[in-house]
């Protein structure tokens, strides 16, 4: 990846992270931890990978994204806002009664949201349906489906994985946000889904393991996914929950709690500093 592109993506990722903090702070609730861990991948998807047009959000030929880990909606909303689907200022209305930004994504509220999600395990099935529709209609769009690593404890994920493998849905790409933390503790402490790679491989998937905060590796993984024919691809992205805000990093407790005013100020100052360090 060219340095200029990498720098540009890093800058957008800081903006996305600021949007996550802005939203959850104003809502006094939400899920910053997993939103921050998937932020770089969401940035890459919307600003490099996906064929989407904010002016035509329902284009039938567009690439689709189903945020199966729907509680990380703040990351999706921040990426969509910065891409131009709606005003960035609206991020402050997250979870408010008159807002288009529901606590979990709703395709009937928000332009650019391709599917309503939030109940874990369901998004990947819908993504399979979208990918199958692409095959049936002879369209070349791709479908992306970020999953939580805790989420893959849901049995429905494996029903869907079996279906996608059997149907050879190579236009489908799952991304496991592998931060090793869920609400009640580490994955091993709760109910280990390991080994993730071997599980998906045994369901007939191509699996790529990467660092989910390294744009070069993210790009290589998505290129490998597109190059792989006859199999869906799962990118297992090692990430840090709360990435980019020092006191949130690798802490379970930031799964579903919002920063208070003091924490908000510290987080925004850190992110401003990160943005400044990217100025050449």
């Amino acid at each position: 990846m060219e340095e200029s592109k990498k720098l540009s993506l890093k800058k957008i990722a800081v903006d996305v992270r600021k949007g996550i903090i802005e939203g959850t702070f104003n809502a006094k609730s939400g899920h910053p931890g997993g939103s921050l861990s998937i932020a770089d991948i969401m940035t890459y998807l919307y600003f490099s990978e996906m064929n989407v047009d904010p002016k035509n959000p329902d284009d039938e030929n567009r690439d689709r994204l189903v945020l199966s880990k729907g509680h990380t909606a703040p990351a999706l909303y921040a990426a969509l806002a910065h891409k131009g689907f709606f005003d960035v200022e609206l991020l402050k209305t997250l979870r408010k009664p008159d807002s288009m930004l529901q606590g979990h994504p709703s395709m009937r509220y928000t332009p650019g949201v391709d599917m309503s999600t939030g109940s874990l395990g369901q998004g990947i099935s819908v993504a399979c349906g979208m990918a199958l529709a692409g095959k049936l209609k002879g369209k070349d769009y791709r479908v992306y489906v970020p999953l939580g690593d805790g989420e893959i404890e849901e049995g429905q994920v494996w029903e869907a994985a079996m279906f996608a493998g059997n149907r050879k849905l190579d236009n489908l790409c799952a991304i496991v946000d592998y931060n090793n933390l869920q609400i009640d503790g580490t994955l091993e402490e709760v109910n280990s889904p390991y080994p993730i790679k071997e599980k998906f491989e045994s369901f007939g998937w191509n699996v790529v393991e990467i660092c989910g905060h390294c744009f070069t590796q993210i790009e290589e993984a998505f290129e490998a996914a597109k190059a792989c024919k006859g199999k869906p691809t799962c990118i297992v992205a090692k990430t840090v929950k709360g990435k980019g805000v020092s006191f949130m990093e690798d802490k379970c407790d930031w799964h579903g709690s919002a920063p208070n005013a003091e924490q908000y100020a510290i987080a925004m100052a850190e992110l401003d500093e990160a943005a400044k360090s990217l100025e050449v």
């Binding site: 395709m107 309503s116 369901q122 990947i124 099935s125 349906g129 529709a133 049936l136 429905q156 029903e159």
Partner: protein
């Protein structure tokens, strides 16, 4: 009665799907039950538009939702127990909440499943589906109505739950029957009491009305094929004109037709309502017709309930 045509509503489902198959936007999904749900009738004619999702009903509902986002009209089929029961939350969150154009074809509803017994005799599906905002629920009385209902569901934009039976039931509607979504059908006028029935109990209601006539009670018979949205007007009119109501359904007395009718009348025009249904119990194995008698789902019990309703009139 020998010349009465008998046909299972699931057969009509398969036949109607085959008619719809000429449309480009129609897809049919099943979960390894094509021979039982009768989607096989469609599969034989349109194999490229039939998708077997295997024994994974929750995933099937998600697949259906995903296909619907791309403009398909999707029929997702399984037994009522699994379509409404196991996959309830997928139907709620992945289909109904985003208002996707998925039609759920749920066969083998109720006690009349027969020998398979309680695990497969779903008497809770109407209650479950009725609680989902925007869900349309159709429970046809015979094959003619079932076929018409499938076409009406296909023409309707949004989620629909269709309830079909395994048992061959007598035809109560004529071939030229016109189905209107959301409209109850008055099959027989009467002034003393109204029997409001759905599904295979409609046929029993007509027999019960004959018996009641012999006993000097003039019963009206209404077929409610669309349980949601329910036809309030026909119910209120019946309450006003006959003053007593009996409901009859092959479903739990909790949450189904009886509850829906009671809810309407309690708020709009309170009159005695006596409910006949599966009385808050699980089914069991046995021949379907014997089971319907054992669980009291027949004309004789409608007659008893009707007399009770009349006795409760002020």
């Amino acid at each position: 009665m020998a010349d009465v045509i008998k046909c299972a509503t699931r057969d009509a489902y398969g036949a109607a799907l085959k008619e719809l198959g000429v449309r480009d936007d129609i897809l049919v999904l099943d979960a390894d039950l094509a021979k039982a749900t009768k989607t096989i009738t469609f599969k034989k004619e349109f194999p490229e538009k039939f998708i077997d999702c295997g024994i994974a009903e929750s995933n099937m509902m998600g697949i259906a939702a995903g296909l619907a986002t791309a403009g398909y009209t999707v029929f997702a089929s399984s037994f009522a127990m699994f379509a409404a029961g196991r996959a309830f939350e997928q139907v709620r969150n992945s289909i109904a909440y985003p208002k996707l154009n998925v039609k759920i074809g749920a066969t083998h509803a109720g006690i009349s499943v027969g020998e398979d017994g309680a695990s497969h005799q779903c008497c809770e599906d109407i209650a479950l589906m009725r609680s989902i905002p925007g869900m349309v629920i159709i429970n046809p009385a015979d094959d003619v109505e079932a076929k018409a209902a499938v076409h009406a569901a296909a023409a309707h934009e949004g989620p629909v739950y269709m309830r079909f039976g395994r048992l061959a039931v007598p035809r109560v509607n004529s071939e030229d029957y016109k189905f209107e979504l959301g409209k109850g059908v008055e099959l027989k006028d009467g002034k003393d009491v109204t029997i409001v029935a759905t599904g295979l109990m409609v046929g029993e209601a007509l027999i019960a009305a004959e018996t009641l006539k012999e006993e000097g009670i003039d019963a009206r018979v209404i077929n409610i094929h669309t349980i949601k949205p329910i036809d309030k007007d026909i119910l209120v009119k019946a309450a006003k004109e006959t003053g007593a109501i009996v409901t009859a359904e092959e479903h739990s007395i909790i949450g189904g037709l009886g509850s829906a009718v009671t809810e309407v009348l309690a708020e709009e025009y309170p009159v005695p309502v006596v409910r006949l249904g599966v009385n808050d119990t699980f089914g069991k194995s046995g021949p379907a017709l014997e089971l319907l008698k054992i669980f009291g789902l027949d004309a004789a019990n409608i007659v008893e309930k009707a007399k009770k309703a009349v006795s409760l009139k002020k």
